[in-house]
């Protein structure tokens, strides 16, 4: 029996007002992602994939259509409700890592635990994840002392530390060389397979997308 849909998007549109001009970033997107799935959304620049990422992560409100994340409807959510969604349901991995530069790798992860209202201690299973990510011995270092690949691994650890229903990754290998890219993608695949972590990855790179179970293509604000 197949897993239930954890992301359900129907007729989603997003229009930005840029001066006097309306920019239609999404023009009726329909998408379903099942629990435990690793989906890659691939598209060229301006295809609307980043807008979709921001909406699914509760970072931007929708214009119309319905979006359900883990059973919660995003349409009409207030800022506070979207903040709560980001705290409890969604984990992020960004292209530019987005670690807090003043904190160590460990404290970057603990801060997200704290925001999520959890104990800021790593349990044995999370220690295993850190070992799997290959950063267990780099936890005391600040981001500037880590390589790009290490920073992205810390960002992945941060993204899953509160056991979110979905891990959203926006061009996670965009700033990495091919060796580090392959390592990070393999780790994401491992996390998906070993922990059943649902992952939705935005990328423009077909090689990166090939690590996913399913590839969804976007063009001009639509899924094709």
């Amino acid at each position: 029996m197949s897993e239930p849909a954890i992301i359900e998007v129907n007729g989603l549109t997003k229009t930005y007002q840029v001066g006097d001009v309306e920019v239609h970033a999404l023009r009726g997107v329909d998408l379903q992602v099942r629990k435990g799935e690793f989906v890659a959304i691939i598209g060229a620049s301006g295809s609307g994939k980043s807008t979709l990422f921001h909406i699914l992560g509760g970072l931007t409100p929708t214009t119309s259509g319905s979006v359900r994340i883990n059973g919660r409807d995003l349409a009409g959510m207030t800022n506070t409700e979207r903040t709560d969604l980001r705290k409890t349901t969604v984990g992020f991995v960004f292209q530019k890592y987005n670690l807090l530069p003043t904190l160590s790798a460990e404290d970057n992860i603990r801060m997200v635990q704290y925001i999520g209202g959890r104990h800021t201690e790593f349990d044995a299973s999370f220690q295993e994840i850190l070992k799997l990510l290959g950063i267990a011995d780099r936890m005391k270092h600040k981001p500037r002392a880590l390589s790009g690949g290490q920073q992205q691994r810390v960002a992945i650890a941060r993204g899953i530390v509160n056991s979110p229903a979905i891990l959203l990754a926006d061009e996670p290998t965009g700033n990495l060389d091919s060796e580090n890219s392959a390592a990070v993608l393999k780790l994401m695949k491992d996390l998906n397979q070993r922990l059943g972590q649902t992952i939705l990855m935005i990328t423009h790179d077909a090689d990166a997308a090939s690590y996913a179970d399913r590839i969804v293509r976007m063009r001009d604000g639509r899924i094709v």
């Binding site: 970072l59 903040t83 670690l99 904190l103 404290d107 925001i115 941060r158």
Partner: protein, 364 residues
């Protein structure tokens, strides 16, 4: 965890943090120094007044508790007062203000001796000639004076005849009639000190005199010294109020600038925190805690700096300004610093909360 982030943020920009702390410290020092000098000056005045050894002080109508700027009373009044019941002795003095907080007092040393046994001289001796002057040890130290030196005051060259132990009546004394003539007040006095035959009757004597000499300011010495407080001196109270107002504005501006810059600089970090689920309340909490820490560090440093200004005054101007440590004002000055700082953090805080997450994450 939040405190860790706050310490890390402050440590990340040590120069800005230090400058903010220093500015808040100056604000606190400014308040504590002013209050300390006010208390110190008033207490010294009270101490010198008590040192006169009189039971009652008789002053002209409309005079201020902390100073005398004229000599409107006739020098016939002491003789008149000595005819009052229970008044054993009366001594008139004339006070001429000098620059700053200094003043010169004209007195009759024999009368002064009858009142309290006279000055205890550390160097030299009493007034003998008309151009003799005597000063207390603090004034001598401040002006680096020695017996025999020439001192020019009230456009007159005086010869320093003696240096006396401080704490009695005045810091600078000359013969009464000489000062009266020099200042164009012959036969006039600024204040009169009375000794009664039984100190326990002092209040009764004052009450009787108030009925007879209407308008004059007549106090027991106890009453008079109790008037020498900040709350009783309207001008000082207002001045302190103004300085506190300025201090709050300084604290506001300093913290506003520091936190505004910090929020701009940390646009991306604030965006990251919001992206991972930090609420507006948490963002404000971080900024306000950071501000509170700056204010507390500034206040602590300001209190330490106050000991520096105290030391400076004790060594540079021991006769002109006396600064006391007023512990009761430590929490007040700290509170003022915190209020100014938190007010300064409000606008940057609101700016941080209103930042759009997606734009903040793109901020370079």
């Amino acid at each position: 965890m939040l405190n860790k982030l706050i310490f890390a943020n402050l440590g990340h920009r040590p120069v800005r943090t230090l400058l903010s702390v220093l500015a808040i410290a100056v604000e606190v020092t400014m308040i504590l120094t002013l209050v300390g000098v006010s208390y110190g000056t008033l207490d010294q005045t009270a101490q010198r007044a008590r040192g006169v050894g009189a039971d009652i002080i008789f002053r002209p109508p409309g005079s201020s508790a902390i100073g005398l700027s004229s000599a409107p009373m006739s020098d016939k009044i002491p003789a008149l007062l000595m005819q009052e019941p229970h008044v054993a002795f009366a001594m008139g003095t004339m006070v001429q203000p000098l620059s700053g907080f200094d003043s010169i007092t004209g007195l009759d040393l024999d009368d002064f001796h009858r009142l309290n046994g006279g000055f205890h001289f550390l160097q030299g001796g009493p007034l003998v000639n008309d151009n003799d002057i005597i000063v207390d040890e603090y004034y001598a130290k401040q002006k680096k004076l020695h017996v025999g030196d020439t001192v020019n005051l009230v456009n007159h060259d005086w010869r320093l005849a003696g240096i006396f132990e401080g704490g009695k009546l005045a810091r600078i004394c000359v013969k009464l009639h000489v000062l009266q003539e020099l200042t164009g007040n012959p036969g006039h006095l600024s204040q009169i000190f009375l000794k009664v035959d039984d100190p326990s009757r002092a209040q009764a004597v004052v009450d009787a005199m108030r009925l007879k000499f209407k308008g004059y300011q007549i106090y027991t010495m106890e009453e008079f010294t109790s008037l020498l407080s900040i709350n009783s001196v309207g001008m000082l109270k207002s001045f302190i109020g103004v300085v506190i107002g300025v201090a709050v504005v300084v604290g506001f501006i300093v913290v506003f600038m520091a936190m505004y810059t910090a929020v701009l600089e940390r646009t991306r970090e604030i965006g990251i925190l919001k992206a991972v689920g930090a609420s507006s309340g948490l963002i404000l909490n971080i900024l306000f805690r950071e501000t509170l820490l700056l204010a507390l560090l500034g206040a602590a440093f300001g209190i330490v700096l106050t000991y520096g200004t105290q030391w400076l005054m004790r060594h540079a101007v021991p006769a002109s300004l006396v600064q006391e440590t007023v512990y009761g004002w430590w929490p007040i000055a700290t509170g003022i610093a915190i209020v100014g700082a938190l007010l300064g953090a409000i606008v940057p805080g609101v700016k941080a909360v209103k930042q759009d997450v997606t734009e903040a994450l793109c901020y370079e």
